[in-house]
Amino acid sequence: MQGCLTVSRESQSTNKKFAFVKCGRMRPQILSIEARMEEGAGDAVTELLSGVDFENTKHQKVISNGYGPYSGGYANGYTCINKRNGYRGSEQNGHVLASSDEECTAKNMKGPIKNGYVKTTLKEPLKTRILKESFEPPTLLTAALTHISFYILMFLGYLSQALFPPKIVKEKNRDGYLPLFDRFASFYSRYVYRRIRDCWNYPICSVPGNEVVLKDRVTNDNGWTFEFTGSKTKCLNLASYNYLGFAENSGPCAEFAIDAIYKYGVTTGGTRQQYGTCDLHVELEKLTAEFLGVEDAITFGMGFATNALNIPTLLSPGCLVISDEKNHASLILGIRLPGATVKVFKHNDVKHLEQILRESIYKGQPSQEGYKPWKKILIVVEGVYSMEGTIVRLPEIIALKKKYKAYLYLDEAHSIGAMGKHGRGIVDYFGCDPKDIDILMGTFTKSFGSAGGYIAGTKELIDFLRKNSFASKYAWAMAPPVAAQIIAVLKILMGRDGTNEGQKRIETLARNTRYFRRRIEQMGIIIHGNEDSPVVPILVYLYSKIAAMVRTLIKEKIATVGVGYPATPLMEGRIRICLSAAHTKEQLDYALAVIEKVADEIGLKYSRKPIDPTPIDYDKIKVYVD
């Protein structure tokens, strides 16, 4: 099924109608449906900052379009914060999450604004983009066979475990202790994963550029143990997240990183709040904010921790999180920590998201005494989903978030650098205003060939995180050479190095992506995702086919990653291919030829879609012309 959908960018000059309503504190009174909808994400935005309930403070609730308190009212709210957190000094403690145009409006307004109920009209859609997303469900026969074979595998596993139990199975829990591991999980890893374990965890012995050197190993006991043979294999690298090909051991970025080692060493010797900040960090944060087109940014030493430790800072019990079902583990961990209510919407299904939003705003917090609005509502999505290859429908979600006054957290781990005409991620790809997204998160691991993550947004948000985030309080600051590599890459992407290298890489990646995806589709293999997404999941369904394919491809000197449960649904095993700007057309052609051969051999041509047989000319593929 090839679905085309048009998303229109919401017009900037929306018709605004502010309602001036005086308000006091929260009241547990019964509101009409309309009033509840107007309430939207509910309470004053200050709570986003503090994570504490401000119900009993005297400040006026001042909400404009659900973003932030403006003008007269906001001083009130913020003096509270200052007292609570015990810091003063910054002029702009007010946390104003607003898009630029609203800020102007707000400045012209005098007096407090309450519950600005903005009737958004979709006048003059500025930009549209056709999203070509492919998703083909398996035929009934394939699905049935996959199920049957899975039961065979389980049956044999349990049989084998019963007949020849390994020592670890016979182990009993100590009296009074709960088992450490889930029983099914340990069975699964012993009797499904172990059998094909040779397809994963390959040690590498070179820089993971367009080619990578693998350390060969053998197993003589069906995957329980491995031995190194001492030899090495050089493979074409379709496995690493190296979208722009900046994982290099030579060139300007590497030089800059090496210089940073000579100057600062490898560690900073402290957290950001102690003596851990050096000028590289300051420069990096300034550059990141500039690159993304927002006010400020904060960086952390690890992308996973950026999600897992910053989301809890922003939420508290009584908040609602609406999360996409395919979100990354780090997001899920971060969402679970603060004890907020979590609801999950179907992958990329904006209608379902809206339905959940409406229902939860109408019902309010689960409580005994009457209606209690949510403290705030946070929508958590990713830019490019790493296992599906799909792209978030950002313009529609921004429109929704504005309509219902929720906050938006966008994880750009896989899209920053890789998507958009200027490499500025999914926001750039759709031509949205970065200020419409409240919290922009991303990592430096994938496109930047480095490590770490960032959060970008308004100055107030970032200042708040600097003060309160666990990752800035307790985690070691990013290592200087790592920061230096990112700075060098950012400068190249922004064209500050005096060449057009950055632009060239972005275009090569886009061209490689379209070329590879179209060729694979021509072969009749099912792939998922958007035609512009550099992650290409090839559906193989069965564990045996994952193993057979990865093994054959490594024999043909191509390294790919197989993905199965728990990273995907149980019956949807896939081979994930990551394209890079470092790949040449010849390399891609070689990979495509081998994949076609293997697909014929092990039977991967599941697709029932009509195939367009016109040959594809690599040089004539159009990228980013609109």
């Binding site: 066979l145 074979s149 049956f155 069965l542 564990y543 086919k545 057979a548 092990i602 039977g603």
Partner: protein
């Protein structure tokens, strides 16, 4: 010719192993699985030939003799046996 046939059989045996997930299990498990399946199949066919076939013949006889020759035929048959 012979080689081609063997190759053909080998290839489709490989494909069969793939779709049943037997490709990734150990050899003895594969053998065990086939033995179990063969056992089940033979039990099933035994059951079919004895119980099911007997039942079917009995039922058809009943229907046949009772519906077309309601009174005379069945009793005759039974008498004949006795």
């Amino acid at each position: 010719m012979g080689k081609g046939v063997i190759g053909f059989i080998n290839y489709w045996y490989f494909r069969y192993l793939l779709v049943t997930e037997l490709y990734m299990v150990e050899k003895w498990e594969r053998v065990m699985f086939h033995i179990v399946i063969l056992l089940l199949l033979s039990l099933l066919s035994l059951f079919n030939t004895t119980v099911i076939l007997g039942l079917v013949s009995w039922v058809t006889q009943m229907i046949f003799f009772q519906s077309s020759f309601p009174e005379t035929a069945p009793s005759q048959a039974i008498h004949g046996e006795l």
